[in-house]
Amino acid sequence: MKRTFSILLAMMLLLTVLAPSVVASEETIKIGLLATLTGYPLNGEHMAKGAQMAVDEINEAGGILGKKVELDIQDVGNTTDVGINSCNLLISNKVVSIVGPHYSSTCLAIENLINAAKIPMLVGGTSPKIAKIDNDYLFRIRASDTMQAVAAAKYLVEGLDAKNVAILYGSDDFGTGGMEIASEHFSSVGVDWVAHPFNNEDTDVTTQILKCITSGCDSVMIWATEAAYPIVARQLYELGLIVPTITNPSLAVDSCLAQLEQEWVEDWYCVTDFLTSNSEEKVQNFIKAYEAKYGTEESVDLHCAAYYSGVKLVADAIERAGSTDTDAIRNALMETKDFEGIIGTMNPNENGEFIHEIILAQCNDLKVSYIKTIGE
């Protein structure tokens, strides 16, 4: 009995591998979304909901070029191999454009695939390396780390009068990129700085924080993904390093804030692409529409807003191109002028970067409030 069952199980696994994939419909215009739906950290669900909401709105308004739009969502997991497979799957599914992925390492791993396939891709990866790549089909729909980190470093020095900064950063490409840019700025304006890395999955950063305290720092800059914040913020508070602190956009993400205590992050500052407390009409309308669609308990964050804007931008480009030819869409994207995205006004520069402004915000009582918008 056990042997028969084992053979059946083995046969089932083999047949699954040989199963054919689903054939795409040609009656619709397909836009691909590469999102982190499995693995760690998770933000793909919000990306998918934001993008799907944009597609639903477009279809309710009659679609594009008389055709309905279909969103092909694929998971990129958290490894480059899955990212490569997902991108190839979207290409073989004949998408006319790809929105995402969110992480720079995945963007860097797949940019050559979309270049070869000549399919425009609007990524959310913020690494400065992306802008330096010679790839006509690669666009960015979020503010680059260069802009974010420089804005944060400048505010520490000019707004908070920092003289000796400690940078705590995640040792991945995102954290390292932010640290390099900020430290370069501190050196250029003659501000002393020390930098200490940690792994995003570390459960103890006491050593790094004690080194910061020993250095006599008068302010802290944190550059890491959301997953690191509960540990870093708690241990900074417990070890008594309570000085002006500024962070990357993670602090403004509701799912991150939900894991923090009020006293850990009171009066902290952050730079961010999107803020729910931004009183601009387009932002508030977006939040209302999102909550109406998915329920008020759903937190609206930059992932929903950025990829909602990305899909709308692609739809606008297809409409202007008057065709689903990927080269025509690419050219239309480059000709975009003052497209009103939720995370800012979108205008491409020569490197295909669409966002040139960033929000400065402050956290009080676990609520992040808008201070001002900083231009490039």
Binding site: A10, L13, S105, L108, N112, D173
Partner: protein, 318 residues
């Protein structure tokens, strides 16, 4: 169910199918997946010697794979030497690592050996991540050039597919010959009864080091091939998860056989992709299947069919 003669026929069918596949489907998605599966097969062939046959659990394969990948990537992007020359350096590094990892295995057993190899893999990843000026750190290495063969750049997925297929067949043949050689028999004997091996006058220490070295050389070469297949590498790929995936390939496919490694590599690299229709649940379903497999088929899928043959072949009791 299958004899050795039958398995040879299966190999022939598999090779013909692999050769014909691009003629039937020119879909880059499938071709790329199979390219990755070929690379993983080479790792699994090597890991089969140490984990599948000798019974020493090596959870540091991702570290060796990482060293192979970075050696080839850095040599070709920084010193602009041919990937073929870089491959020779990769083989040398694999050899040295194999010996260096093999020695602790003489004193350590079971969970302690696993922990040592995990530590090795993590040390390699952390070094690559933090030696920013040399390795590019977390940003990784970009624009890794493709292999060039008789003046042809292997810069299309189809060319790469046939190249990797040829290399995989070559390593499969080497692995097959080793499994059925004196070494292969001693590997299995060490797993089954190490004292008996020593009693026969065979140095189990020497053989263990040979098994580790073979596994390391295979993994390092596969790493080198991976760098040129991917064109971009960064440290986040070479985690403990990857090492575990390699062990899963050997265990689920079937330890002690080349066919098991082939099947394991295909299942681990392609099955999750085929389960994508399950939406957000595809990874969890994949791991549940792996879990069920390890409980119901602990010796791997291939051995289900091979064992039946062995059972049948047993002489009847009088």
């Amino acid at each position: 169910m299958f004899s050795r003669k039958h398995t040879r026929k299966i190999y022939a069918v598999l090779i013909i199918a692999a050769l014909a596949f691009p003629l039937i489907s020119n879909n880059t998605y499938y071709i790329t997946m199979l390219c990755l599966a070929f690379i993983y097969m080479i790792v699994a062939f090597g890991l089969n010697f140490i984990t599948g046959m000798t019974g020493q659990v090596n959870l540091g394969t991702a570290g060796i794979f990482c060293i192979g990948a970075y050696t080839s990537a850095l040599l070709t992007t920084k010193t602009f030497i041919s990937p073929w020359l870089a491959l020779l350096v990769v083989i040398l590094f694999g050899f040295v690592i194999g010996i260096a990892l093999g020695y602790p295995s003489l004193r350590l057993k079971g969970v302690y050996l696993s922990l040592t190899t995990i530590a090795f893999g993590e040390i390699v990843r952390q070094l690559v991540n933090n030696m920013t000026d040399f390795t590019g750190g977390a940003h990784g290495v970009r624009a890794i050039p493709p292999y060039c063969l008789f003046g042809f750049e292997l810069n299309t997925k189809l060319r790469l597919y046939y190249f990797l297929l040829a290399v995989t067949i070559m390593f499969g043949l080497i692995a097959y010959r080793i499994i059925y050689s004196k070494w292969g028999r001693v590997f299995t004997a060490i797993r089954d009864n190490i004292d008996a091996v020593d009693t026969c006058g065979i140095s189990s220490s020497k053989v263990k080091i040979i098994a580790f070295t073979l596994a390391a050389v295979f993994a390092a070469i596969a790493g080198g091939l991976y760098a040129h297949y991917s064109g971009y590498i960064n440290p986040s790929t070479f985690t403990l998860n990857l090492s575990v995936s390699f062990v899963v390939m050997v265990m689920v496919g079937g330890s002690g056989t080349v066919l098991g490694s082939v099947l394991g590599a295909v299942l681990v690299s392609i099955l999750p992709e085929m389960l994508r229709f399950l939406g957000n649940y595809y990874q969890i379903v994949f791991y549940i299947l792996v879990f069920i497999c390890t409980i119901l088929i602990p010796n791997g899928i291939v051995n289900v069919f091979l064992e039946r043959q062995k059972t049948k072949a047993l002489p009847e009791k009088n």
